[in-house]
């Protein structure tokens, strides 16, 4: 699965979790919390959606790896291999 596709998967989940957020100019390297009004419950929502949609289990110690779009892509890339 390509990076753009993974990026889009994360953005799709964020659009569900934070429906008011403007996702048109999200910068890949900047922490999501600095760009969007996301709190700890939102990150739990993101983790939950990854579990429900892709059966990916993100252990608590790996939560920091979901900090930015770029780190999400790097972290989720290997786990999303095999998904269409």
């Amino acid at each position: 699965m390509g990076e753009q596709r993974i990026r889009q998967i994360v953005l799709d989940i964020i659009s569900l979790v934070a429906p008011d957020a403007d996702l048109s100019n999200v910068r890949d390297e900047v922490p999501l919390r600095e760009q969007l009004e996301l709190d700890s419950m939102d990150f739990l929502d993101i983790v939950m959606e990854l579990r429900k949609r892709y059966r990916i289990e993100v252990p608590k110690e790996d939560y920091p790896k979901l900090a930015s779009l770029a780190s999400c892509v790097a972290y989720l890339g290997p786990q999303l291999q095999g998904h269409a």
């Binding site: 008011d20 419950m41 939102d42 579990r51 289990e57």
Partner: protein, 412 residues
Amino acid sequence: MAYTDRVVITGVGLAAPNGNTPEEFRRALLTGVSGITRIEVRFMGPVLAGVCRFDERKYQGAKERRRGTRAGATAIYCCHEALQRAGLPRERLHADRVGVFLGITEHGTVETENEIDVIRQHDYDTRCWSHHHNPRTVANNPAGEVTLNLKLHGPHYTIGAACAAGNAGLIQGVQMLRLGEVDVALGGGVSEATGSFGIFASFASEGALAEHEDPTKASRPFDLKRNGIVVSEGGCVFVLERLEDALRRGASIVAEVAGYAMNSDAADPVVPEPGTVAACMRLALERAGMEPKDIDIINTHATATPVGDEQEVIAINEVFGDCETVYVNNTKSFIGHAMGAAGALELAGNLGAYEDGLVHPTINLTELDPKCAMRNLVIDRPQRLAEVDYILNNSFGMLGTNSAVITRRYRG
């Protein structure tokens, strides 16, 4: 502060199946507009229900709504609308002196059913059970969501009082004002019952769920062919203030709370007990310093179950049977049973009588059950009275909880 402090209603906000404002609601009640439709409910298929159509996003962001509950959204809408009508925008409120007291019949059933459905789709993997479930289902949820939304710092909680809860929320607000705990009380009730298949299924199993080919004719209190309850959702919140505070700020006064009472049947889980119901109404009258003949309108609780309606009629005839100028109506015939919101909504639907002098009718009463005969039962068309000064609003609930609230036209 004294128990005798006079407490007044200075604003009303509501969401009913047939109106999103007090004015729309009143108009519907005076023109015979039902709010009942047929909806699809999980596992049940098509059922009759009263569903509200207020704009959830008027006072709430999409994320806030997603995290919260329908009852919370309803409460937030009603509180904003009530405060606006009271002339108390958020910036004029002393946030630590405003309390939120909302009656609920139940809360959390909808959210629990939803989560079970979610994990069912994931092989009952409980790791897919939402972390939002607990904040959504704690019993104070609807009132708490209001405080989060409006940034209020006074006390908030819900009052579980089955279907007497709407009155109980208002009563709690009055009591907290008289205790001096708050300066503004947001009191009333909410219900999200139409989101729960279990509530419909339980009434169906009890043989108490209404059915009619025409949804608008399904809720038929006192009618010989009544066959049960129409489950509805809704909300209604009153802004309550001590009279002196309301006068000081030049508020427009909708009505004064003249008296109230709550008591318990201690008899049957579901069937009301006429003796205790009569005692409840008498206690409310006594506290208001009134005689039964002083009441102009009795808004009945009757839900259109065969037994429940009869029991209330026995109680009303016992207390008011000799009163020639007491008129009786029923709001559930229009909106079904809005559960935790019912008492507050039904009172709100009648407060307009202080302005227009009309008793809204009971609809769908084509053949009066002789066991439900009452003097001056207003049927089909509004009844004009020379003047309306006092309204008594009944609301009863399962496990034998009874409530009666009396309001008075404010005359100074």
